[in-house]
């Protein structure tokens, strides 16, 4: 025992010595926006290493042959990365200085990875005005933009036309819709995620609709606890206390219950169209989509993925040229046709391939007012606090004001990380 203890103490002593020479050089916080370097003119050349997740990673290699055809000197290597551990892979790669030239990055990870200093600021090569405002906002961290939005998704209301005659346009309408659906036979008028991972994505649209702001202008302080935020919490909670939304729906039964008419509506993103189509006995003629009803303002959540170039990229200029190519409107339309990713470039939505789709129009409309969560390094952690507190609100009947204070207090102690 003694020997082991002594060994441990020695290791600690060594560690302390090593650390004595360390320390942060600056307090961080209010640094000036980072300037972006120019990208050289002309065709791209050299090898470009790209990481992309899931289907995007699988399909991008072939898709990008058109880019290689335009730039014959380019050797493009796309490595697909499973979503499951993509975050860990990027984090470890940054730690070891083994980053690729370009990587796809989930929008909610932007703050964290940008804060490591591993991402290259977006150069003038990119037409920043072409993106949806909410999408472009996901690339801005501490006053500097890193990377570009690649594709987007947003949340809308899915409803059954036989239970909901007219989609609601405001909060009172949504409540009335749920009540009416319930009285005409549905077990629940609406499904809103009551808690657990990602519940904030369903709730936050209501907070933004009420006019709540999560942080101050420069993202250094949280301003969560506000009358607007409490108002949204109270409204969200009312669906559960009135029995209009389920608190204990077993996982994986939402689609079936919706198809069976037990649940009249729910809030989700574009992928649910495909899931519903695959659900057995689904009668898609009874399924319709509508933008979320508005409160004081119209708002929804915007997600998706961005493309970022790393500072350690060996072929930075070519990497940015490739990224620029992927954000051209016509390429965005082709990419939608390849993997059904919704374009982040607004003008791509005018293409008939997208504009004529019966469901997509609703998403396009919603995207104009969709809001991104603050791109701060600690966002994922703050979001998990919101998830936990929402569960208390919906399942344990916690007081909205108290929940709001609790979120504010925990978020403040986490800090924005900027």
């Amino acid at each position: 025992m003694n020997r082991t203890l002594r060994g441990g103490t020695a290791a600690l002593a060594v560690a302390t010595l090593v650390l004595a020479g360390c320390g942060r050089d600056s307090g961080g916080g209010d640094e000036a926006p980072e300037p972006a370097a120019e990208v050289a003119e002309g065709a791209a050349s050299g090898s470009i290493e790209v990481w992309a997740m899931g289907t995007e990673g699988e399909k991008l290699g072939d898709f990008a042959q058109a880019f290689v055809a335009e730039n014959p000197d380019v050797d493009l290597q796309v490595t697909p990365v499973p979503w499951d551990a993509a975050h860990d892979k990027i984090a470890t790669a940054i730690a070891a200085g083994e980053t690729p030239d370009v990587s796809m990055i989930g929008t909610t990870w932007m703050g964290e990875f940008a804060a490591t200093g591993a991402l290259d600021p977006t150069p003038d090569l990119i037409d920043t005005g072409s993106f949806f405002e909410g999408a472009w906002g996901t690339t801005e961290v501490g006053g500097t933009n890193y990377g570009v939005p690649w594709y987007v998704e947003t949340r809308v209301l899915y409803y059954r036309t036989d239970l909901v005659p007219e989609p609601p346009t405001d909060w009172d309408g949504l409540t009335a819709m749920a009540q009416q659906a319930k009285s005409s036979g549905a077990a629940y008028g609406i499904n809103l995620q009551p808690g657990e991972t990602g519940a904030w994505q369903t709730f936050m649209p209501f907070a933004w609709q009420a006019g709540a702001q999560l942080t101050n202008e420069d993202g250094t302080e949280f301003t969560i606890d506000s009358p607007e935020f409490v108002e949204a919490l109270t409204y969200y909670q009312s669906f559960f206390t009135d029995g209009l939304a389920p608190t204990d729906l077993p996982q994986g039964t939402l689609e079936q219950d919706f198809v069976a008419g037990k649940i009249a509506s729910f809030v989700s993103g574009p992928w649910h169209v495909g899931i519903l189509e695959e659900t057995e006995n689904a009668d898609m003629s009874k399924v319709a989509l509508a933008p979320l009803p508005s409160g004081a303002e119209q708002a929804s959540f915007i997600g998706g993925a961005n493309l970022a170039v790393f500072k350690d990229a060996e072929n930075r200029d070519a990497a940015w040229k490739f990224v620029e190519w992927l954000t051209r409107p016509e390429i965005q339309v082709q990419w939608y046709e390849t993997v059904t990713d919704l374009p982040s470039v607004a003008s791509a939505w005018e293409d008939p391939a997208i504009a004529d789709d019966q469901y997509l129009g609703v998403f396009g409309e919603q995207l104009d007012s969709a809001v991104a969560p603050p791109s701060i390094p600690t966002w994922e952690e703050v979001a998990s606090v919101i998830d936990t507190e929402l569960e208390r609100l919906t399942k344990a009947g916690a007081d909205p004001q108290e929940v709001s204070t609790a979120i504010q207090q925990q978020a403040s102690s986490i800090g924005t990380g900027l």
Partner: protein, 337 residues
């Protein structure tokens, strides 16, 4: 291993038991040490490089405020001493998770050990048919994809349609909504974890049972000992090192339990199935590396304490106070290779 050899018959000459103790600085001891380290060397080299090294680095991590933003320049962090550890112990979510984990371990580990030992003994009890089917079958939960496991268990535990509640209904009990109940979600997690871990334990115990000499069973049976008595007085003592191994390994696994809540409940409802390992995983995900590392080492201390208790309960005292191994006189000539 007190009585492991007690019951072993034959082969032992009287007088050996009282043999002299090997002196620490005898040439023989030194030769033995050299020979033994020769055996140990390949492992030790790899182990030092790829396990001890990273572990020491992670220990350093635990006493700094390393966060994901420091990844590119990990030396530019502040030394914070034990601040992370203090913060961990004050974290209400950690306390909640620790209580959940303790519940899970204290109920789950004995349950898993008892069930798998019982099954292993039954499988080794002289059945001749379907042996391979049983061996392979009971190992299935270990190789079944966690996602498939989750789907089937979620169905089993479904409040209205699930088989568990239907079976309870036959005896007039109205089963709960297992996974959505703060009271019943944890028992469901324990059942699932036990179900998933017995496969490995059974093969470990089966292998251990092969070391129990049949002649002892025979002798005991001739003396009129029943099956239970033979299990208690013949099988259990010989199996002790194996059971200890099973207990420690299961303890380590259960203290770090994570997958079941991860796929089934996400730690809910209302954090009732949040485990320390899950909480730690989240903290790593948030990029709070220093804090998460400190939490890992708090978990480590818990495992060590648990293992010490198990070493004590199951007979092998891993303390320097125990008597040194005695050397048999015959061995002295041949030991040096």
């Amino acid at each position: 291993m007190t009585s492991g050899t007690t019951v072993r018959p034959g082969a032992q000459t009287p007088g050996r038991a009282g043999s002299y103790e090997l002196r620490k600085h005898s040439p023989l001891y030194r030769r033995r040490t050299r020979a033994a380290w020769g055996f140990a060397l390949p492992f030790v080299l790899l182990f030092a490089a790829f396990t001890v090294g990273p572990v020491l680095m992670s220990l350093v991590m635990a006493v700094t405020d390393l966060r994901s933003r420091d990844l590119r320049n990990p030396l530019a962090v502040e030394f914070v001493g034990l601040d992370n550890f203090v913060a961990v112990l004050q974290d209400p979510l950690f306390r909640k998770a620790a209580a959940n984990t303790a519940y899970f371990v204290l109920v789950g580990v004995p349950l898993a050990l008892a069930i798998s030992l019982a099954i292993a003994v039954l499988m080794n009890s002289g059945i001749t048919r379907f042996r391979t089917i049983f061996r392979v079958g009971y190992y299935m939960p270990v190789v079944t994809s966690i996602v498939a496991v989750a789907v089937v268990w979620r169905f089993l535990l479904h409040p209205d349609l699930g088989m568990v509640n239907q079976a309870l209904g036959w005896v007039g009990i109205e089963g709960p909504n297992w996974l959505e109940s703060t009271t019943w979600a944890m028992p469901a997690m324990i059942a699932m974890a036990v179900w998933r871990s017995i496969g490995t334990l059974i093969i470990i115990f089966l292998a251990g049972l092969q070391g129990v000499p049949t002649s002892l069973h025979e002798a005991a049976a001739l003396d009129g000992a029943g099956a239970w008595q033979r299990f208690r007085h013949v099988t259990l003592p010989t199996m002790r090192p194996t059971i200890l191994f099973g207990a420690v390994i299961t303890g380590i696994g259960y203290v770090q339990f994570f997958e079941e809540p991860f796929v089934m409940t996400q730690g809910g409802p209302l954090n009732s199935t949040l485990s320390v390992a899950f909480h730690t995983y989240n903290q790593f995900g948030f990029g709070n590396y220093g804090y998460a590392a400190a939490m890992s080492y708090v978990l480590f201390v818990a495992v060590v304490v648990l293992a010490l208790v198990q070493f004590r309960l199951l007979g092998e005292r891993d303390t320097p106070r125990k008597p040194r191994r005695t050397l048999r006189p015959v061995a002295s000539k041949e030991i040096g290779r």
